[in-house]
């Protein structure tokens, strides 16, 4: 790549540790790549210990243990303990379906700070349609009960899309009933699996607007009792999101096999080597590797970003979305109304408004598309 940035890099704040791609659920918008890693390639406990030590020394403040389902790793309590020993704030991002009283007790004893528990819907049928696992909803509700009984703060995460977005008010009811301290209502992001299933998942504009009203009502209702994060679908925005707070500026992601990425979708970019913690120190990778330097700062930007007054607000938007929708990772994010690429986003929105025809098609796609590699 030409024109890699020479901007100095602040240390990362946050590490997303994707411990495994194994997961009992099969959600068709999963943020994992389409090519899932088998268990045999996963980093060892000792590898992760070294990564956690290096991350803390580099300046990471919070580590998010994720997956796949991170509780599929038997050494998770040991990893939490190691992170805690390093002063890292530990967050478990889990589906909850593998949690029981004994496993939560081991994590609590290890010093786990917080649990983010995913829900696919408010009731069993909706949850099973997305997650593809019978009985998952009851396990999740039991997991929430265990976390709250332990006294650990709990966030409920709901990914919303065309098939469940109208149940946002009931999602808040469920969160309140379970004693969650935070709720995330996150519209699906369209990369990888989400992009593959976009025609079935993208909400209509009317649904989006209703979801914004529903969240506003909940903010009014709960005040400071419940923290609410709302992630909108950027296809309906006029300007792109500041993806990851800027490429290689705050956030680092490590895959189950140890590849170090600026975001969880970055492996879609071709023609660049993805450095591994098996071969280099995390700090060296963060500061000096091509993948972290190629879109860091503003030097890499083409027009219209280069002369844009928002270039240090949205940092050019999302590189992986630019790649997925325009074929070029270095292009402006096509969500931006100031780019010629916007036409491709508008075309997708026109498809989403064909709600009447697409709903049944959508359900068909969901039930057939989610099983291929999702669970192995």
């Amino acid at each position: 790549m030409e024109g890699v940035s020479s901007s100095p890099s602040p240390p990362p704040m946050s590490l997303l540790a994707e411990l495994t791609h194994r997961c009992p659920l099969q959600c068709p918008y999963c943020s994992n790549p389409l090519a899932l890693e088998p268990k045999t390639g996963e980093l060892s406990t000792e590898d992760w210990f070294r990564v956690l030590d290096e991350a803390a020394a580099l300046g990471v403040l919070q580590v998010h243990f994720s997956g796949g389902e991170p509780m599929a790793r038997k050494d998770l309590p040991d990893l939490v303990r190691r992170a805690v020993r390093n002063g890292l704030y530990t967050n478990l991002i889990t589906s909850g379906v593998l949690m029981d009283a004994a496993s939560l007790e081991r994590l609590s004893a290890a010093g786990l700070d917080h649990v983010q528990l995913s829900f696919q819907d408010v009731d069993e049928d909706g949850a099973a349609l997305i997650g593809g696992m019978k009985g998952a909803q009851a396990k999740k509700i039991e997991a929430a009960r265990l976390v709250v009984a332990d006294g650990m703060p709990l966030t409920l995460n709901f990914v919303v899309h065309r098939l469940n977005v109208e149940r946002i008010p009931r999602m808040f009811d469920l969160a309140e009933a379970l004693g969650a301290r935070r709720v995330e209502i996150a519209h699906t992001q369209y990369y990888g699996w989400g992009l593959k299933n976009r025609a079935a998942l993208l909400p209509t504009r009317a649904q989006l607007e209703q979801s914004e009203r529903d969240v506003a009502v909940a903010r009014e209702r709960f005040g400071t009792r419940m923290a609410i994060d709302f992630v909108t679908p950027d296809y309906y925005a006029d300007e792109p999101k500041p993806c990851m707070g800027g490429w290689g500026q705050r956030f680092v992601n490590i895959t189950p096999v140890g590849r170090v990425l600026p975001c969880h979708a970055a492996e879609t970019i071709s023609g660049v080597v993805f450095p591994s913690v098996r071969e280099a120190a995390l700090g060296t990778i963060w500061n000096d590797s091509e993948i972290f330097r190629m879109f860091r700062g503003t030097d890499w930007m083409p027009e219209p970003c280069r002369s844009c007054d928002r270039k240090e607000i949205d940092w050019g938007g999302c590189r992986c979305q630019a790649l997925a929708l325009t074929g070029r990772a270095e292009a402006a994010d096509p969500v931006c109304r100031r780019t010629a690429g916007r036409a491709v986003v508008d075309a997708a929105l026109r498809e989403s408004d064909k709600t009447f025809a697409y709903r049944s098609y959508g359900c068909e796609r969901l039930s057939s598309a989610d099983t291929s590699d999702g669970s192995t």
Binding site: G59, Y89, G151, P153, R182
Partner: protein, 95 residues
């Protein structure tokens, strides 16, 4: 809520939140679920005295002595800050 904040009360960090020294950036941060807030030097001085046993009145006495500042000014600032952090679920009341 603010009206309840009196010097007799005893704040503590809520489970899952804490004050922490960020050695790499040479600053204090409040670690909380899914986010870390920068604690400015004044907030850091106050929050270092939050131990779940010390009342606000005792904390204010200590700060007034340490900074040789008028007690009523310190008291007003501390009660407002602690009340705000309790509203945001960073702090809870032990008493």
């Amino acid at each position: 809520m603010m009206a309840d904040v009196t010097e007799a009360r005893v704040p503590a960090f809520a489970r899952g939140t804490r004050l922490q020294r960020d050695q790499v950036r040479d600053q204090w941060v409040i670690q909380a679920p899914e986010r870390a807030f920068l604690a400015d030097p004044v907030a850091a001085e106050v929050l270092q005295r939050v131990d779940g046993e010390t009342s606000l009145g005792v904390m204010i006495d200590g700060l007034a002595t340490a900074f040789e500042a008028p007690r009523e000014v310190i008291a007003r600032d501390v009660l407002a800050m602690v009340g705000d952090l309790a509203d945001r679920q960073v702090l809870v009341w032990k008493a």
